[in-house]
Subunit: 402 residues, 3 copies
């Protein structure tokens, strides 16, 4: 597992003459036609909180594509290619109407499926307008999020449900968020300026919690994180899980199970180590090769306070660069890998096994897609739309360690 | 005229798999040696208001070239390549002297035609200085503007006069402006950050006024714009005109004639629909492929107030992005086409006939230049320097509609 | 010496059709593997003031390479490749420890020579950690500066001493600075945004002082600079010197000797014309092809005031762009040459002989390095580490001019 390659002794480890390094394009390029981009396009991705799609169009950038999201006065959400097919003006400046969105320049009106309903400057309001079609993508709303499907129409899967989000108690509501919170713990960065893979690598990496979030920076989360766990990684359902078992002083142990689902979905258990199944699901949505947006939906007590992670009383956005140096967190660790890490110089070791499993699964499913198949986790049968989420903090009597 | 191409029905208009699009390089590249750049270089272009060229050098960027404009203490304006021919220091930091501009680094002195008059650090103040020549372009001043000619010296035309600017009444003066006002209606953007063609397309597009400036955003200009006109386009002189006839309630009609002259000149009638010939001329001067500067000269009442277009009491620069979304204007429509529009995906229709005529004329004249000829509108005979401007609002008894 | 090429008379010096120009890559490219970059890598360069390397890591960029400089709690300075060899997180966010720097992400600990001392998330804290080596460069401290050597380990020379810095009087101290002061005379620009060569050209150019710093801008330094000197250039030791002799009114003359040492070192005499040897040494350290940092060490009276050049009572950073136009200095002259000057259009003349000598020496030594030799000024014998600095203002009775 340890593939460190030392330099020849004569070089004495000097940085002089080290070879040029490069990113892994397979795992980081997400645009149309790229292997990872095409894999990603077979799944639904959240693009906005439903509550944020009101009476003004919104810019959305996802998988390298710039789009415009809107909600017509009839309540239907629509996601269109932003350049009006007539002369290219952005529909971001379009006007919301009962039947769709109208371009500001010459008034062409498009519905949520891109049909052109009016061309007011043309003879007879557009005799040939039924031939015109603004490029569009399907959207659906669930859990307070707007999801979009950017793949081939004939491959559109059902929008998944997650068992841990299905039964909302009367005193609960969904906290549904797109943008912010991903790596800073607060709302200061809507779009995170590095590859989605850096965050994705973080999910199946339980060890960094011991260092980055505990011994290194003081206890950032719960003090139980400072205990070094016994970790096991395993493929499960359509993703990777780890079980991190910590032995407690009272003779109990807690098994913290975390899940990553293809291709960019995670469910992390409560960071205060509250017992039971995880109450949320998150997505690491690539904006382009070097930016992503975090989306999260979580069951929360109705009317509860919002939250932001604080270190020494300050949110990430309130800290100076020197304070970030003194108390680094996920953002510093991940942005410190660069806009896109140089994977050729990585030295993956025993504790990186979860990451290797994730990457292997991603690459394998890219091949499945390239060969015309359907990647794991894609479901066409509405009766099978519910996904089981294994994540949670599970307490029990300690077993003997093997 | 309607060349909309629908996708195959199976695709259902999806944005997935749409082909890559591109700009039209012929109409948008303006640097030296490009077809449009060479065409543009056969005409004079305004580069500054005369009143702004005082005792400090000014940076000018036009047609992709960075230059320095100055006025020597003797009153002569000069336009030089900015990098001193000696060691490349910018003459922007040069000192104005009676005979020219002196480089700050080693004191070489150049006159408005680039002759080197002094080299103070050289033996005998530069024994060979008559061999030195700083690259220069000719300038002339008229109507309160400094015009420059960037073409081949042997092809330099006479600087045109415009008949609507020739007879200044005693109570009138020229409002002469370079920078600002182009697409925002105020002074907040000296340089406009998109292709000159977006603004040029706007000139022979009378229909957008009905939508963008009237029904869409409330009445931005005069309420007569809200009436849908009968429009005719025609080639005239060395450009394209349109006649937009609106029938009024009192049995009259108003014929609003707007002109575009090769290659980037327009004269728009009074936007309050005042009767008579247009009182101004404007230029859309390309800075580079994706920026332009608007220049305008207008006859105005002497000592009158300046002006800035206001929407709900606010100038463009005072509005928020949300307000721009709610009340878009020319800037939003044109910048919304991108830095350089993707012309391959345009769908030009009946109402775009004026734009097609302009572009056809531009492309045809590029060929004329490429074959060694002189493009239309270029005049070498000083006796024929006056250009007739047809633009204006002309009222008359309504004719029967054909 | 005068190689001005005039255009053909028919062109009349027009800027139209002038050929495209280019930089000299040989003298301006400093990255690994470039001729100038490899030459530079054979010498020690200052990267920080020792006093600035405290308990937080610092980013250093030099010769196109991004590095991290730190001082372990034991007081040893280290300069490492910044991306942790494990997963690429920047050691800028690492923690200083007694034995080295620990990566924030998974806690790998490296000493100042890149040895990996701990891998806390690995079995047995890293059974194979002795195979891991973080790329590193050697550093040494002297005169209050941290010097780094970025070349091949087997070619590492001794760190030079300078005779004018060796005997510090009891009432003196070193003013040791890296960043700022280079071309602005104040502290407002830590990194200067143009090629190191522009500043390097400035050193052996005594004539610009007459123009830029005297007649042009008023007397910026001492009024003696306004006297035009007799100048002689000569190769000396391992660099170029000039002697600039000014005849004074009292029958004396002052010989102002300035030195440039390979490859980027200068010693300029006191600008108030104080008699005697220069009291300082400066380096023009390339950050990358289009940025540099100035480093200086100077003997100063202990506890004296700091200094910043002022023009009309203002430091460079306090002046407006219009004030910079009216009173340009080194920054304006040099930044006015662009990020990297276009050397193909230079016209070097008699007064540029010093620059030509510098460039010739640089290019010749690049060849020496390319052929496996050691460039001049590189010393491997510690007994010969002291470099003689000739610079100074030397007064004497005036000789008859030849």
């Amino acid at each position: 597992m340890n593939n460190l390659t030392s330099q020849s002794p004569s070089r004495d480890g000097s940085a002089y003459g080290r070879p040029a390094q490069h990113s892994n394009p397979l795992l980081t390029q997400v645009g149309p036609g790229t292997p990872c981009g095409e894999l990603m396009r077979r799944y639904w991705h959240p693009v906005a909180a439903s509550a944020d799609v009101k009476d003004l169009p919104r810019k959305v950038k996802i998988l390298g594509e710039e789009l415009v999201l809107f909600r017509d006065s009839g309540g239907r959400a629509g996601l269109l290619y932003p350049r009006c097919m007539h002369r290219g003006t952005s529909l971001f400046y379009g006007r919301i109407e009962p039947q769709g969105i109208r371009c500001c320049y010459h008034g062409w009106l498009f519905d949520v499926q891109g049909h052109c309903l009016d061309q007011p400057c043309e003879p007879e309001d557009g005799r040939h307008r039924e031939n015109a079609r603004q490029p569009w993508y399907p959207v659906e709303e669930r859990y307070g999020l707007v999801f979009a499907y950017l793949g081939p129409p004939e491959k559109k899967p059902v929008l998944p449900r997650y068992d841990n989000l299905e039964d909302l108690a009367p005193d609960q509501e969904f906290w549904s968020n797109v943008g912010g919170f991903g790596s800073t713990g607060d709302n200061s960065l809507q779009v995170v300026p590095y590859s989605w893979l850096h965050m994705n690598d973080n999910v199946m990496d339980p060890f960094h919690v011991q260092v980055l979030h505990s011994t290194f920076s003081g206890i950032q989360f719960h003090q139980k994180f400072a205990l070094m766990p016994r970790v096991d990684f395993f493929y499960a359902d359509h993703g990777v899980c780890y079980s991190a078992i910590r032995e407690l002083e009272d003779g109990q142990e807690v098994d913290r199970i975390s899940s990553w689902l293809m291709p960019n979905i995670m469910s992390v258990p409560d960071i205060q180590f509250k017992a039971g199944q995880s109450s949320g699901v998150s997505w690491v949505v690539p904006v382009d090769d070097s930016h992503f947006v975090q989306a999260t939906v979580m069951k929360m007590p109705r009317g509860g306070p919002g939250f932001a992670l604080r270190v020494n009383g300050k949110t990430w956005g309130e800290m100076s660069e020197e304070e970030h140096q003194r108390v680094p967190g996920d953002f510093e660790a991940q942005s410190g890998q660069g806009a896109i890490s140089l994977h050729s110089e990585e030295h993956l070791v025993t504790s990186d096994r979860g990451i290797m499993m994730q990457r292997r699964l991603l690459e394998k499913q890219m091949e499945v897609v390239a060969q015309g198949g359907d990647p794991v986790g894609v479901q066409f049968d509405p009766a099978k739309a519910v996904v089981k989420v294994r994540s949670g903090n599970f307490y029990r009597a300690a077993r003997a360690t093997g």
